[in-house]
């Protein structure tokens, strides 16, 4: 039954998450309200793992979330649910619609959706911050400082092109050295 529910929920996410991987985040948060598959704290761990492993972010998140809910098979089921709408929609577009992205109605729909998706992701990230940078004793001061410093560093011209994996590795080393 869990597998069926997983497939159904991730199928819905695949159908409505517009804007790729990060756009799945608000939906994954919604799920914590309705199911006990994983908690908000688990979600921040999932983000950390998904960002530091190869593969599309959205797929990594779905696999991890599914794994939490139902082991290896759960991960596979969630991922298949997530990609099935893509396969159907893209094949239909490739088969029947030429110039799909030039269509006036399509453009109008996405002009409306884009700013809303930005808001939804911003809202989800805001929620994630509260979990990731808080412990039972209050604000986790060291990760917060690291976040601010790295954020500033990421905007230095020479460092902009640096691979995300390099930042993650550096953060892991700093975390160990300074006993986060």
């Amino acid at each position: 039954m869990t597998y069926l529910l997983l497939f159904y929920e991730f199928f819905k996410i695949g159908l409505f998450a517009i804007g790729g991987g990060p756009a799945t985040l608000p939906f994954l948060m919604d799920l914590t309200k309705h199911y006990d598959w994983y908690t908000m704290a688990d979600l921040t761990n999932m983000m950390a793992v998904s960002e530091s492993t190869p593969g599309p972010l959205g797929i990594n998140m779905a696999t991890y979330a599914g794994f939490h809910a139902g082991g290896v098979i759960g991960g596979v089921v969630a991922t298949m649910g997530l990609v099935l709408p893509s396969i159907i929609v893209i094949i239909l577009i490739a088969k029947f619609l030429t110039n799909f992205s030039e269509n006036a109605t399509v453009k109008a729909v996405f002009a409306g959706i884009r700013p809303a998706v930005t808001a939804l992701i911003a809202s989800a990230v805001f929620g994630l911050f509260q979990v990731a940078l808080m412990t039972e004793d209050g604000i986790a001061i060291k990760p917060l400082i690291l976040c601010v410093i790295f954020f500033a560093l990421m905007h230095i011209k020479q460092l902009k092109k640096l691979h995300p994996a390099a930042w993650l590795l550096a953060a892991a080393v700093i975390g160990i050295i300074f006993q986060f």
Binding site: E51, P56, T105, T118, L168
Partner: protein, 182 residues
């Protein structure tokens, strides 16, 4: 069925999925190398088109791209094989990490490393939001939609799907109004 070519599609997208971090736009250079330069499967213009479609269709952009290229090469089986290739590295790697994660969390060094990574994940996510905002908030109306959607998401229990659908309908209505005025 052309098993060999289907297998090739799977293998190429498996490599792309296994070698890129983040997905979406970070994959573009590798996609270009594998699909345009090395295998000559599609033209660079087609790849850019494919990205445009991938961004205005639901789902993971990397998966949309894989399905599109696979379908263009070998029809529906091609689309499915390319997508399976793209997601397989994630399934394998993430499942392995997930099975060890809980046990590793008992280790104090690992906990420190994860706390460090969390700090940077926050910085990376903040960057994503800023990049998105720069691209999507191009006029006053967009800013208004963004603020309303943010408040709805933060303060009310309105489901995410409802906000997405409402924003899409709003986009069509504003376009209609604009067309009538013009």
């Amino acid at each position: 069925m052309h098993w060999k070519e289907l297998w090739q599609l799977f293998a190429v997208f498996f490599r792309i999925g296994g070698l890129t971090f983040g997905g979406g736009l970070t994959m573009l250079p590798l996609l270009k190398y594998e699909l345009v330069q090395k295998n000559n499967w599609i033209s660079e213009e087609d790849l850019i088109d494919c990205y445009a479609i991938g961004q205005c269709t639901p789902g993971i952009i990397a998966v949309n791209t894989a399905t599109f290229v696979g379908y263009k090469r070998k029809g529906i089986p091609g689309g499915i094989m390319a997508t399976l290739g793209m997601v397989s590295p994630s399934l394998i790697i993430v499942s392995i990490i997930a099975s060890f994660f809980q046990a590793l969390m008992d280790n104090i060094w690992f906990q420190h490393a994860v706390m460090g990574i969390k700090g940077v994940v926050c910085a990376l996510m903040l960057n994503t939001v800023i990049t998105l905002a720069k691209k999507s908030l191009v006029n006053f109306l967009c800013v208004a939609v963004c603020i309303i959607a943010f408040l709805l998401a933060q303060l009310t229990p309105v489901p995410t799907i409802a906000i997405v659908v409402a924003a899409g309908i709003f986009g069509v209505i504003t376009e209609k109004v604009r067309a009538r005025r013009a």
